[in-house]
């Protein structure tokens, strides 16, 4: 049920790929996004974290229909995007933009910065007068000198190229931006610059972000709420502060404990949860809870029952059959059940 506070409502979104097959054996289905439902409120930043192959980028692309969803719907500002024709969708892209991880691969090397940032302005006929003036304004907004308008992408550093990518996304005055790992390829000192720029633009223009990253520190810093994804499913969703201070689902606990803290005193004392093994292949994910193969709390039911994302604490959702609203602490549950067996 679309709520008026929500800019984006994602309902049971699925993106499946056919994979392999070839000469021998039938092809298999990769469920990159496997039934995701999320709401993104106007003006908020929703962080999306997970390890490589968990489907977070595919989810981001599927929201914008840069990858066609297999089923499910995405509602933007009351309109069902999945029902739109290609032309109508193209028109909507004015409101929905994307910033990419590798700013170099996503900028045409044969176009000048002015042409790159000006292209969407021309495509959508948005300039009042000369597009160049608008381009210069945008360059100033993202902290680039308009003197560089005639330069090519290779003449810029990684951080500057990311600023060009952000200026291009802003050119159409969008409401919603999917930022897919926008700082991963950048140096530490430049990451802070880009995060600050994104925050400044959000407060000035009332932007709504889906911030996709594997960097939990950055996600915590930028996001109001955080969704954790594992093998195509959302496994935990909560306010940024809560997910850090009080992770409920065993995978989230391990993920947060794995992030090194830049403080030797804390590092020396920390007990890190080391997960065994790798993320299983999404081609044939484990049945039941996808995480059970690496989970130290797994019980036989975890291999068969698909856990649903339920509200365990106010505004804090998790998908794990071993915790519930009555007892949210999996360690306490573990002690209780062991006690009962003995």
């Amino acid at each position: 049920m679309p709520n008026s506070d929500n800019l984006i409502t994602i309902d049971d979104l699925q993106v499946h790929y056919r994979s392999g097959g070839g000469l021998f054996g039938g092809s298999k289905t990769v469920k990159a996004v496997d039934g995701v439902s999320l709401e993104i409120k106007k003006g908020e930043t929703l962080g999306l974290v997970g390890e490589s192959g968990c489907g977070k980028s595919t989810l981001g692309r599927a929201i914008l229909r840069l990858t066609e969803p297999t089923s499910g719907s995405v509602t933007f500002d009351g309109k069902d995007l999945s029902a739109l024709s290609n032309d109508a969708m193209r028109e909507q892209r004015r409101h929905l933009q994307m910033i990419f991880q590798d700013p170099y691969a996503s900028l045409n090397p044969r176009m000048t910065v002015g042409q790159i940032i000006g292209e969407p302005i021309r495509t959508f006929g948005l300039a009042n007068g000369s597009p160049d003036r608008r381009v210069s304004e945008l360059m100033e907004t993202v902290g680039l000198s308009p003197r560089f308008i005639k330069r090519y992408p290779h003449e810029f550093s990684g951080g500057q190229r990311q600023r060009i990518g952000i200026a291009r996304a802003l050119a159409v005055d969008p409401d919603f931006i999917v930022a897919d790992e926008p700082i991963s390829a950048l140096d530490v000192s430049i990451q802070a610059q880009i995060m600050n720029l994104m925050q400044k633009l959000q407060s000035e223009k009332g932007l709504t972000y889906l911030f996709i990253s594997h960097d939990l520190r950055a996600v915590r810093h930028l996001s109001d709420r955080v969704a954790v994804m594992y093998l195509g499913r959302i496994v935990e969703l909560a306010d940024g502060r809560d997910i850090y201070a009080d992770p409920l689902m065993p995978y989230t606990k391990a993920l947060i404990s794995a992030v090194p803290v830049p403080d030797p005193a804390i590092e020396a004392k920390r007990e890190r949860i080391i997960l065994k093994g790798d993320v299983p292949s999404p081609i044939d994910p484990p049945a039941g809870c996808h995480f059970h193969t690496r989970c130290r709390y797994a019980i036989p039911e975890c291999k068969t029952v698909v856990p649903r994302l339920v509200e365990i604490k106010p505004r804090h959702f998790a998908a794990c059959i071993r915790i519930n609203a009555e007892c949210a602490d999996i360690d306490a549950n573990e002690v209780n059940s062991r006690g009962a067996i003995q």
Binding site: E51, L222, P260, P262, P264, I266
Partner: protein, 351 residues
């Protein structure tokens, strides 16, 4: 540094440059450090800071031309590696000093079985027979935690995940029981949960085999948990050198302090802007006069733009390249809650 432990490697006044279209780039400029046996040294820096070139220089892996190791000494077990013949150097590389790189896919040969790549080093360096080498390789794969090592050894690198490939690289590096392991961003390409596994593995192997480690990384969190000493590099130079605990709690250089402050802190409320170091690293083909960090520094004064800064000793084993090193350090001490009396104590102990 008490000086009791034996030094495994000491690098003295190393200079390495590259000739590029834009002119000569001093990638490593007057770098000096030493590492004691059994310790881990972290080298931190952003891209282009010279941290990788320093370590490639140690094993003389700099392509010449366009590169050149122009000056300096690299003393390993009494020998200057820069003076050894190619034959002598070959006996050190891979056997006594081993390297692990960031991207295992580009360092493993995709056309060769894992067994071939793993047995090559021990047959060469330890004179293993085919059978011995294979047995040793399986032992090493088990040691680094590869499941079904007996089966996996006959596979190809592409059949393994990124984390498993990095384990194979580490197995290969440790095959000859090296005295020094140089790990260049060994976990940068990996997910955090896999990074945690690999770092734990390196710590564990270090404890068991007594290997000394040089760990190159841009991640201050990794440095905090893994190292005894840290070097911070910027623009080809060492900007700060200290015991890890000291560097994090009492940085003595504005660049280090800026880097530490620009990492998001989970305790911070959302919405506060991060501290940011403005601007971009300098063009090394055309470095600014004076201190290379001056254009980005938050406490630049006139002297910084004209004179190259001194490398100041703040405290035993703690050095900073800055005209105002002592002031920056004392500010850090005050923020860290060290009062004047303690400060006097620290000074008198050093004096």
């Amino acid at each position: 540094m008490s000086g009791t432990a034996e030094t495994i490697i000491s690098v003295e006044k190393l200079k390495t440059y590259f000739d590029t279209e834009d002119g000569r780039v001093m990638a490593v400029d007057d770098v000096t450090f030493e590492l004691k046996k059994g310790e881990t040294l972290g080298i931190v820096g952003e891209s282009g800071s010279g941290k990788s070139v320093t370590n490639l220089s140690i094993l003389r892996l700099i392509p010449e031309p366009p590169g050149k190791i122009a000056a300096g000494k690299i003393i390993f077990d009494g020998d200057d590696l820069l003076q050894l013949s190619v034959e002598e150097l070959r006996k050190v590389r891979g056997k006594r000093i081993a390297m692990v790189f960031q991207d295992p896919m580009t360092s493993l040969n995709p056309f060769l079985k894992i067994s071939t790549q793993l047995t090559e080093v021990t047959r060469l360096h330890l004179g293993h027979t085919h059978g011995e080498a294979r047995e040793h390789a399986i032992k090493m794969l088990k040691l680094v935690g590869i499941p079904d090592a007996e089966v996996r050894i006959d596979g190809y690198p592409h059949e393994l995940s990124g984390g498993m490939r990095q384990r194979v690289m580490i197995a290969m590096a440790l095959s000859c029981d090296p005295e020094l392991l140089i790990a260049d961003e060994p976990t940068t390409a990996l997910d955090v949960t896999i990074q945690a596994q690999i770092l734990e593995l390196i710590k564990d192997l270090k404890a068991r085999m007594g290997t000394s480690v040089i760990l190159i990384t841009h991640d201050l969190g990794v440095v905090a948990g893994m190292t005894d000493h840290v070097i911070v590099m910027y623009a080809g130079k060492i900007f700060e050198r200290a015991r890890t605990a000291d560097l994090f709690s009492r940085p003595g250089n504005p660049y280090t302090r800026g880097l530490l402050r620009s990492v998001p802190d989970p305790e911070h409320e959302r919405g506060e802007p991060l501290y940011q170091i403005p601007g971009l690293p300098p063009d090394l083909a055309d470095p600014p006069p004076g201190c290379p960090f001056a254009p980005r520094c938050d406490r630049t004064e006139d002297i910084c733009r004209t004179e190259f800064p001194p490398f100041v000793e703040l405290h035993s084993g703690h050095h900073s390249l800055c005209h105002f090193a002592r002031e920056v350090w004392e500010e850090s001490l005050q923020t860290a809650g060290v009062d004047r009396r303690e400060l006097e104590d620290i000074r008198s102990v050093d004096g």
